[in-house]
């Protein structure tokens, strides 16, 4: 900033468009959702009560505020359906994150150790699926996992099974889908961190007689922890609210919050309860965001 001409007005004008847009279409909708989550469902248009009467002045506000309550959140807490959905979301996202760390770490390491001239191509190969339609990538697994699908066909040809296994519409299919869809999110930040590690540290350990596996476990992995945390956070956060994967690959008993919200809104038309589920998802997600804030930034390679 030093020695620069005062450019306050220009700076402010540059901030204005994004600020106004996001205040109107991100902040305000969120406030409205929060408010509706405290309302009661009603058979009206819009289907909830109370509605704020702007013309009522202060009285209008106070009757409005008095009518708001936490009933929907009590329902979420008391009804086992929502508790199971919250637990389900956390369990699926947690298990998938652990598997992603286990699969993503060797893959990111292999990318970082590949010859330099191959790296841009290999990284691009990991990125392409990430850019490719999420829906299509999840859909591709239906043909593989279904009872008369490719996996069962292969297992039968190999003589490993006599009757087809039921994999589609089970918990296993949801986990496979989550791991598959989010693998690039795990690998890319991890690769970014591993690629920046000083090779001298590895070489020093090797020179001192450590076997390659020992170098990996005692030097590379500990130094890559920020990347592992960033990748796990980047995967865990969206997985909690995931809708497409449990809906297409899971069974009717696969309970995850994103899917419960969808049903509550589109099938049961209970807007206040759907809003409360949305706020609950956000609350669950905000924990790791705050927790991983620093490592997310590290994974992104941004100096604070």
């Amino acid at each position: 900033m030093s020695g620069r001409k005062p450019v306050g007005l220009f700076d402010r004008l540059m901030r204005l468009p994004a600020f106004l847009w996001l205040a109107a279409f991100f902040l305000l909708p969120f406030a409205i959702t929060l408010k509706i989550s405290l309302s009661e469902p009603a058979t009206a248009i819009p289907p909830y009560l109370p509605l704020l009467d702007w013309r009522g002045g202060l009285d209008g506000w106070s009757t409005f505020l008095e009518a708001l309550n936490f009933d929907n959140y009590r329902t979420l807490y008391a009804d086992p359906l929502y508790r199971d959905a919250a637990l389900g979301s956390l369990t699926y996202a947690g298990v998938a994150s652990l598997i992603l760390v286990a699969l993503g770490t060797p893959l990111a390491y292999a990318l970082a150790r590949a010859p330099a001239r191959w790296q841009p191509l290999l990284v691009a190969l990991v990125i392409v699926p990430f850019w490719t339609s999420f829906l299509i990538r999840v859909y591709a697994w239906i043909a593989i996992l279904k009872p008369e699908g490719l996996l069962n066909l292969a297992l039968r040809r190999l003589g490993l099974i006599d009757a087809p296994l039921t994999i589609l519409n089970t918990e296993a299919a949801v986990i496979v889908g989550l791991v598959y869809a989010y693998l690039p999110f795990m690998v890319l930040p991890l690769y970014a961190v591993m690629n920046r590690l000083d090779p001298a540290l590895r070489e020093a350990a090797a020179d001192l007689g450590a076997a390659p596996s020992r170098v990996f476990w005692t030097v590379t992995v500990p130094l890559s922890l920020p990347g592992i945390a960033a990748g796990a956070g980047l995967c865990f956060i969206p997985m909690v609210g995931e809708f497409v994967i449990p809906d297409l690959l899971g069974g009717s008993e696969t309970l995850m919050l994103g899917r419960v919200l969808w049903t509550e809104f589109f099938s049961n038309r209970d807007w206040p309860l759907a809003s409360a589920v949305a706020v609950l998802i956000l609350a669950i997600v905000l924990g790791p965001v705050v927790l991983f804030r620093d490592s997310l930034r590290a994974g992104e390679g941004e100096a604070p």
Binding site: R15, F19, L22
Partner: protein, 257 residues
């Protein structure tokens, strides 16, 4: 490379690409069954061309993606410039939260909250509301891409222009933006594919007559495997791969220059 890293790479890429390859191969299968190979055929691509609802949904998606990526690129670039070039300003924390919040906000939350607002203010749902929603969630991604490039940019060029008497607007247009061009292209492409790909948010904010391609595909996919969807997917995968290759080629060319 040792055999360990080579195996890890082969297994990882095999896992990432296996299902996509299966999808592409079976889009050329004459038989509608996954486990039966009925010979090579392009009949599903023909069926695709005759599928009017699918084509009109693709058209809606294309229009939305073009408009949303354009708007998100403008807003995201301005936001990145403010965050990387303006030092401290009042409300910076709020501004940062607004720009990057939509990236971590669950899709169902963005979709639901925007829909509740659109209904609240009486805005009819359709193309416009989808464009608004997509612009909102793509802006942060553009800001990340452009911000990363701004960080690597030599500030002395902008300072030299300012010292020589160029007004801030002129520095922006004649120095900063041309230097940012590759990042603008990458950000716009990212926003375009994110918009083209979105199912959840569009399902909330779209209205009758504005069904997007993912929404149409999804309603078909729920009914099970369908070779016509494989054909549509293959075309989409081809389109996106071409776009990504183009983007990495642009970046590589800039790196050599």
């Amino acid at each position: 490379m040792t055999w360990v890293t080579r195996t890890a790479l082969a297994a990882g890429l095999g896992f990432l690409y296996g299902p996509i390859v299966v999808l592409i191969v079976y889009s050329f299968n004459a038989s509608p069954l996954v486990t039966v190979w009925g010979g090579f055929s392009t009949r599903w691509y023909g069926a695709l061309l005759a599928d009017a609802p699918l084509l009109s949904a693709a058209w809606v998606s294309l229009k939305v993606a073009i408009l949303a990526s354009l708007l998100a690129t403008i807003l995201g670039t301005l936001a990145a410039l403010a965050l990387k070039r303006q030092g401290r300003f009042r409300g910076r924390a709020l501004f940062t939260g607004l720009v990057f919040g939509p990236i971590v906000m669950p899709e169902v939350m963005i979709g639901l909250s925007l829909l509740l607002m659109f209904i609240g203010i009486g805005l009819d749902r359709g193309l416009v509301t989808i464009v608004i929603a997509h612009t909102t969630f793509c802006t942060g991604f553009v800001a990340v891409v452009v911000g990363a490039r701004l960080r690597g940019l030599d500030r002395s060029l902008e300072e030299a222009a300012a010292d020589l008497g160029a007004a801030p607007a002129r520095v922006l247009v004649t120095v900063t933006l041309p230097l940012l061009a590759p990042a603008l292209a990458t950000g716009a492409l990212l926003a375009f594919t994110l918009s083209l790909d979105d199912l959840v948010i569009a399902s909330f904010v779209s209205g009758p007559g504005s069904t997007t391609l993912p929404m149409r595909l999804y309603s078909q996919v729920r009914l099970g495997v369908n070779p016509e969807i494989n054909a549509a997917s293959t075309l989409l995968v081809g389109l996106v791969s071409a776009a990504v290759l183009l983007a990495s080629w642009l970046t590589a060319r800039r790196g050599q220059a």
